[in-house]
Symmetry: C2
């Protein structure tokens, strides 16, 4: 179903010079092994459907960026314990539960190029296995024994759900404002990035003296802004991004009639027949051959793509600045790499 948009390779930014996640992966690798083991052991259940559904979702990939952030944000202070591994697994379970519930809410058929769990086991299993993972996430947090970490993550849990409900009420509405949209992605995406980062210094503070609100606030802000940049880049990529990601499937948001920032900007800047086009394909859901290509062209013509990317760059810059007061470390460099990588996917 994906449409491949052939574009010229961007010559000023060759593949060799691109930001990579190499340092992120190398630094977080050893502890991520622990996270993966933890994830597998906590999805074990006598009820065989639970490990099956969980394995399906876990095997289907994703970079596990959120748990990696938790690990880096604890280890950057020299943390040597094991609590951050459990919190990282909790964060990934919260994320996975959200994906399972999202598929039911969005009535998605596919997830990361594989059939969505709900297509294989039904909506029922997706709802309930999501609930199970959420329960397991909270149990792991309890085991770590930090009330502050529980506070941060339980708040995020309620905010994520609130954001998803808000998204329902703005869905398929082409008059959604940029502010409305930012409020949605702040809640549904960035809040978990932020919490994933903030629990790093919290758990590190269990054994290391001198960590406090300054470290928490810095990483909370870093995570929030990285999350916003990440989501905006994803939105841009779905309309083809720029020259990179040749061959990436695009148009999922268009087909699911999602009102993301590229569309919001393109719609607001158009009139007459163009507005009518968007209302037909997004609001009425009447999509025909060639509509996706036209949508992509309109988003580009109206600077919807370029400005979405510039918004993402703005939040990326704020994320970078947020780390300023933290001591130098390999992990801090890796966090900076993560921002560059995120933005680089699309510029």
């Amino acid at each position: 179903m994906g449409v491949v948009v052939p574009l010229e390779q961007d010559q000023q930014n060759s593949a060799g010079a691109r930001a990579t996640l190499d340092r992120v992966m190398a630094l977080s690798g050893p502890s991520m092994k622990g996270v993966n083991t933890m994830i597998l052991s906590r999805t074990g259940s006598d009820v065989t459907m639970i490990p099956e559904v969980a394995k399906h979702l876990i095997d289907s990939g994703g970079k596990r960026l959120r748990p990696i952030l938790t690990l880096l944000c604890a280890e950057m202070f020299g943390y040597q314990g094991n609590g951050h591994v459990k919190l990282a697994a909790s964060v990934e379970f919260m994320h996975t539960a959200t994906l399972l519930h999202d598929d039911v809410v969005d009535e998605s058929d596919m997830r990361r190029g594989k059939p969505a769990a709900r297509m294989v086991w039904g909506n029922q299993a997706s709802v309930l296995v999501g609930d199970f993972l959420l329960g397991q996430a909270f149990q792991m947090m309890v085991e770590v024994g930090s009330m502050d970490a529980l506070d941060v993550l339980s708040k995020a849990s309620a905010i994520i759900a609130e954001g998803e409900v808000l998204q329902l009420t703005t869905a398929k509405n082409t008059n959604t404002t940029e502010d409305d949209y930012l409020q949605v992605i702040r809640a549904k995406t960035a809040a978990l990035f932020s919490a994933a980062c903030e629990v790093g210094p919290i758990v590190a503070g269990q054994t290391i003296q001198g960590l406090g609100e300054i470290e928490r606030a810095a990483l909370r802000s870093y995570g929030m802004n990285l999350g916003l940049a990440f989501q905006l880049v994803d939105d841009a990529l779905d309309y083809g991004g720029s020259a990179k990601d040749l061959g990436k499937d695009i148009g999922d948001d268009f087909r699911e009639r999602k009102v993301t920032l590229p569309v919001i900007l393109a719609y607001r800047r158009s009139e007459g027949e163009e507005k009518a086009f968007w209302d037909r394909v997004i609001v009425a859901g009447d999509q025909n051959e060639g509509d996706l290509e036209r949508g992509i062209a309109l988003v580009r013509d109206r600077q919807g793509l370029a400005d979405t990317i510039s918004r993402a760059q703005h939040y990326g810059a704020v994320a970078v600045d947020a780390l300023d007061g933290l001591p130098a470390s390999d992990q801090k460099e890796a966090l900076l790499d993560a921002v560059a990588f995120c933005i680089d996917r699309v510029t």
Copy 2:
């Protein structure tokens, strides 16, 4: 849609002599006002759909037995604080979230005689508002600040979801054993009753010396067995119970093809054409005029109803015994009343 089965009034147990919840209601009343206020304030959200859905569900009634148990199990030790009110509201939110998700899983049209939330706002809102309530529940637990209470309730949360998944795999299977079925209701119903009770002495122990594992174990056991009795009585009532509850709508489980204990017993004790009847109406879901009446008659003929009730009485007796070691108090008497009331609904 309900079928009213006219039965003779049971003469040995007249209405005047029946167990009541009067003492339960009188004792828990003042603190329940606090719980209700808490519930309303915690379902407030700028996202208007959230208070709407929550209000719909809260207004639709139910006795709020679970939060009442939490209050009584804290106040029986002389607890004077406010933490039990927050935990009671948490318990009710967990229960409400389960109902919202259950309606989606069961594809129910009605809930307590009103249209299910999913019929009014869609499956999407039911999934997400359930998630929101769960997040709020954990936030309230964090505010109470007891890691033990968080441990008990987060374990219950995962067990409930696991029980619901297990129920999916046993659904519409007439060969489900009594043991399989007990495992399901232990997880999906009794675990929350048990947790609701156990957090009472935990929160009371924040300010009162000398409470420990003995009190927790007693009330954990009381709650677990009361929960089992409660569910089995519900199952029996759905096939008409005995003489009482004249006019109560029955047959919901039959129509939804749920394999509850009355059916499990009736099926196992039948053969030939009778077994074929159950396989047709439950497994194949082919139900016609007169089938519900025949199902009720078969359940009665095979002692499925009488024996479900005697199982419930067994668990009720265990619940009563579990309280033995606890000091005398009005609240303890009220807990005994709750068992009697539960059993009395059906005998």
